[in-house]
């Protein structure tokens, strides 16, 4: 682990860069030029230095470890090249986890964004006590994630849970929220949506309020009805915001960890149910690294997930551009 102590990151931009100017300049002038040229970099450097230490370095070191057969308690690993990745491609449990992740992601992100846009549209109308409503949708976001997990785990309890009791009083069958694969995904997605929809609503609402009123008024004068105005004016102008919302929820959705981990019947288990029916990729990564102590393999999973997220984010970016720009000619 001593390897994690890196050499100090390269020092902040040097003060005297020895400008190669033709004219002889006084020291003062040189400093002044250097100031103009390099200071901005100096000012933004804290972020990048911190990012290099806490973001970039772990990322690269993870890639390095993924080339080793490295157990948590070993001093050093055995170099095995890409074998971890080869194993990963043939690992049923990984594919199972990937399918679970995508399924939970779709069940949460898609309704979430749609509901958020509709809710924002509602909140954007002339409501009484509008601030109250707006704060109201954000309340779930304030609740602690762990508390949410425990409460929803209880609500979706198979034998004594509230949801099943309600279903039963309506004469419906009980649903095995834990062991039925799709049902467990729905339950987890409900948890995610409950927490995140309000947050996204507020972001979309803010963007809606930035839309110039005269555009909408002009449309009203032209005789466009509410639906037409929403589809042809509001949605296209929301594009940058929607791209942001969708990409952040893609990243969050594909990294989902806490909800499935708390949802499981067995406290502290990373199995995601008896048959891994709701084990996500991050849960499997955590299990491989810190329970099975197979750090190399866990790192390979981490990188695979990283690539998957990039692919999904790109697809979503393209899709969003297409959908949101349907009202106007492509520039």
């Amino acid at each position: 682990m001593s390897e994690t102590i890196t050499k100090p990151v390269s020092p902040p931009a040097s003060r005297d860069p020895a400008p190669r100017n033709r004219q002889k300049l006084s020291l003062r002038q040189k400093l002044s030029i250097a100031d103009v040229r390099y200071s901005p970099y100096l000012f933004i450097s804290p972020f990048f230095i911190l990012f290099a230490i806490t973001g970039l370095f772990p990322l690269l070191f993870t890639a390095y470890i993924s080339l080793f057969d490295w157990e948590l308690l070993d001093d050093t690993g055995k170099f095995i090249g890409l074998e971890n990745y080869a194993t990963l491609l043939g690992d049923d449990q990984f594919w199972n986890a990937l399918v679970n992740t995508v399924s939970i992601f779709l069940l949460s992100s898609v309704p979430q964004v749609i509901i958020a846009v509709l809710l924002a549209a509602l909140l954007n109308t002339n409501l009484r006590a509008s601030t109250g409503w707006r704060v109201g949708v954000l309340v779930p976001y304030v609740a602690s994630l762990v508390a949410v997990g425990i409460i929803f785990g209880n609500l979706f309890g198979v034998q004594y849970g509230l949801v099943n009791s309600v279903l039963e009083t309506f004469g419906l069958d009980r649903i095995n929220w834990q062991n039925d694969r799709l049902a467990s995904h729905v339950a987890i997605a409900v948890m995610v949506n409950w927490r995140w929809t309000g947050y996204n609503t507020l972001i979309v609402l803010a963007a809606m309020q930035a839309i110039p009123r005269d555009l909408i008024e002009a449309a009203v004068v032209d005789g466009a009805n509410a639906v037409r105005r929403f589809v042809s004016i509001v949605l296209p102008l929301l594009r940058p915001t929607l791209i942001f919302v969708i990409i952040t929820s893609t990243i969050g959705g594909l990294q989902i960890f806490t909800e499935p981990r708390l949802f499981t019947e067995l406290p502290g288990s990373s199995n995601g149910g008896a048959e891994n029916q709701f084990q996500t990729v991050t849960l499997y990564m955590y299990q491989s690294g810190f329970q099975y102590q197979d750090l190399g393999y866990a790192s390979a999973i981490a990188w695979a997930l990283f690539l998957v997220i990039i692919v999904f984010a790109l697809i979503n970016f393209l899709l969003t551009r297409r959908i949101a720009s349907s009202g106007e000619a492509d520039r």
Binding site: M1, S2, Y160, E265, G268, Q291
Partner: protein
Amino acid sequence: MRQQLQRAFFGAIALVTACSLSGCGGDEGAGGSGGTTSSGPVELTLSTFGEFGYEDLIKEYMAQHSNITIKHDKVGQGGPYHEALLTKLAGGSGAADVSALEEGHLSDVLSKPQLFNNLEQIGPKDVNKERWLDWKYDAAKAKDGTLIGYGTDIGPLAMCYRKDLLQAAGMPFEPEAVKPLFATWDSYFAAGDQYVAKTGKAWFDSDSQIFNAMQNQLKVGYIDKEDKLVIESNPDIKKNFDKVTAAGGRGQTAKLAAFSNEWNSGFKTGAFATKTCPGWMLGVIKEQSGPELSGKWAVTDAFPDGGGNWGGSYLTVPKQSKHPKEAAELAAWLTAPEQQIKAFKAKGTFPSQVKALEAGELLSATNPYFGGVKDGELFAKMARKVGPAQYKGPGDGQIQENAMSPALQAVEQGKSAAEGWQQAVDAAKRIAK
């Protein structure tokens, strides 16, 4: 001033370099400061999880040793505690001088004895095997002979059962009378059939709770002494699996995963009539069942096919400790019978020391919730019934938790026993690879 700063800066650089070259706090302790025993002031760290009952003992120890200060780091839950401990052991720094380790996590570290000081070498000479029950002591010995920890407490198994439910089913229900039901696993499952036929309710909480107890009674576990996975070649494992899943299939299991919310509720609703019961489980039962069921639960000093153990911990001295000698002395003192009896009185942790099991305070203890049973005496008796320690190879605990238990749960949910077995074997192979 400037010079001073510069010197401090270069000093820091040198330290970092030295650190990264030597693996930071790796083996320095043994050579460097190991020789200077109990002269200068020493600060020791002690990390535990849950309740060890050591608060007053620590004060007592510091009063006796004026040069030693002890910093006690207490973590609530065992799971996160052990994950953090493993990470610190892997990182080579951050672990406490005396670090508690739970029995279930032994298999994670027993194959890496180089991370711990051998307490037989650095511990006080007058502390030896005779202090503990044989099986407790042996379980903490690595293959190369390193003793990685001194035993603290144990969880000897007995049987808890609902007196009133057995009585209602027309079955024997007094603690002496039920013993034949709990004599062997066969008699246990036969009694279960009888109970299910009469009441239509479940006999035990979940397949995996029963299976784990059976598994721990085997001579060889999932992994043999050569660290080979023997789940397929050891026929006893499959035999137990079939017995349990068959009984579960006949309605004996309540399908409630241990420690889940639903399991907690199951105590109140009487979802199951018996429970494999280490000493500390009495507290769990009391808490989950609530005052209404006081006197309805009972415990008897019988356990199918002998005895067993579930839970209990060790105090280890990681190699990275800067004061291994002093740390070992502290660990030895804390795990002495006199101290463990005090911990038992403070927090009910059941001692693993032979002398402590004979102490009057332990033998006279009673439990009003369980009808005034002399539980100290009862569990001391069960502790002596525990068989020789089963070798826990690397991954053993993980296989139990992440291969076998989920597979048994899947069978409870409708998977066939054959498919469930295959799931367990596949998962075990993946873990052991």
